[in-house]
Symmetry: C2
Subunit: 256 residues, 2 copies
């Protein structure tokens, strides 16, 4: 007799620890964590992870998943995958989208893009792993290079395994290299004073600089004069204009 | 007045095409496709994608998603991500697992592994994109390097974007390099005859060789004598033993 059935069962058993089983309905997702991010709203969020190294934050584990033993071994990895829900655009799903990378007026099929407006609204980001932090009631995973809005639901965390995940020679279609459009960022006297008064002034300056350098303006509005923009960043209301190829930060005030 | 609200709305509008909107409940996953894979059961499936180049198959789009316009632009990419459901192990979810890579008897936290027995049972694989195939009633994405069981539900397809997804210098913990354990594979006279009679003999031989070279036996059973193993591969029942460091294929018979 061939040993197929017995071995299929044994193969499962091998990876399991019987005392910690649970089951879920197929197709029903449960958030295991929430993202704590400096980006308080969708506008201004980097379009891919790793573009803003200063975008530090946390994946805060939810009850049932806030157990340090679920992370044993993670210290050997430098990067993590998060599979998450694009919750900030109202569950809208399309088959055709207009990637900002192409100027916002060319269509592509959604499965050829990383657009959030996709079937199931699932996102995938690789983040730098900065350590585990355990406090009395919480377990959180410190990460950097965030491209997720504060409050984003996370459905899975996986280690980045370079021998299988890293394919440097892959062809990247219309996004073959990192976006090149970078603005110089300057601060008004007022913004400078406001920055200097903050406890983490140097970090905040870096975060504002790296975020605005990517030019978060909608691609199709980039020739729209010297309009004042605002975004929520690390609990502050950042206001800036783009003038002569530079982002000029007018003010950085704490959010009410 | 600062232009935040107007721009947040505009940013959404920019990427959308109004005629193709749909919405879904948060946390409710809908399969957009099913995998057509040579691996008919969990036993024998490579433990990561890309290990068996001959593992060719399809992501067969389901109704509503079987539209060629949803893929426009994909031809510029060489690799794709599939986010899928590990459906073959009964929805079992653990916080601690025993990775086969560590011999099957050392525990790790599930979030430090790629184990299928994880919260939400979501899998993530990068596959080589081999083209789109459209027939009368079907649209399917040809892929290779599969590590998924036939019938696996797929929840998302994304292009692999090397500038953000590829991190060759990442540290890979206990899976820092591809598995090194490779068996030589030999065929009995009977298996050779059976292979030769197949229409795609050369491809099947390659698929059997590459799959068995990875030694699919459970790690903790590798010293268990010359037991006969069986797996379903490309519609065939493949039977083999491991003897003296070689996988000896005894028979390859079509499945009834």
């Amino acid at each position: 007799m061939v040993a197929r059935v017995a071995y299929a069962a044994a193969l499962c058993r091998q990876e399991l620890i019987e005392s910690m089983t649970s089951h879920s309905e197929p197709g029903q997702l449960q958030a295991i964590a929430r993202v704590v991010s400096p980006y308080g709203e969708k506008f201004g969020v980097p379009r891919q992870p790793g573009l803003v190294a200063a975008a530090k934050g946390y994946i805060e584990m939810l009850p049932g998943f806030d157990r340090i033993e679920a992370f044993e071994g993670i210290e050997g990895f430098s990067h993590l995958w998060a599979i998450f829900g694009f919750h900030a655009c109202g569950g809208q799903q399309r088959l055709r989208v207009r990637p900002p990378r192409l100027g916002g007026n060319e269509e592509r099929g959604v499965f050829a893009t990383r657009s959030p407006f996709r079937p199931n609204n699932l996102g995938l980001s690789v983040l730098r792993f900065e350590g585990l932090e355990q406090t009395e009631n919480h377990l959180r995973v410190a990460v950097s290079g965030l491209d997720m809005v504060d409050g984003t639901p996370v459905y899975d965390i996986k280690p980045y395994v370079p021998y299988t995940d890293s394919i440097p020679q892959a062809q990247g279609g219309f996004a073959a290299s990192a976006p090149e459009h970078r603005l110089a960022v300057v601060f008004s006297a007022q913004a400078d004073r406001q920055l200097s008064a903050m406890p983490e002034a140097a970090h905040m300056r870096e975060l504002v600089e790296q975020t605005l350098a990517l030019d978060p303006r909608p691609a199709y509005r980039r020739d729209d004069g010297e309009r004042l923009y605002g975004m929520q960043l690390a609990g502050h209301d950042v206001r800036w204009r783009v003038r002569g190829g530079r982002a000029e930060v007018e003010a950085i005030a704490p959010l009410g």
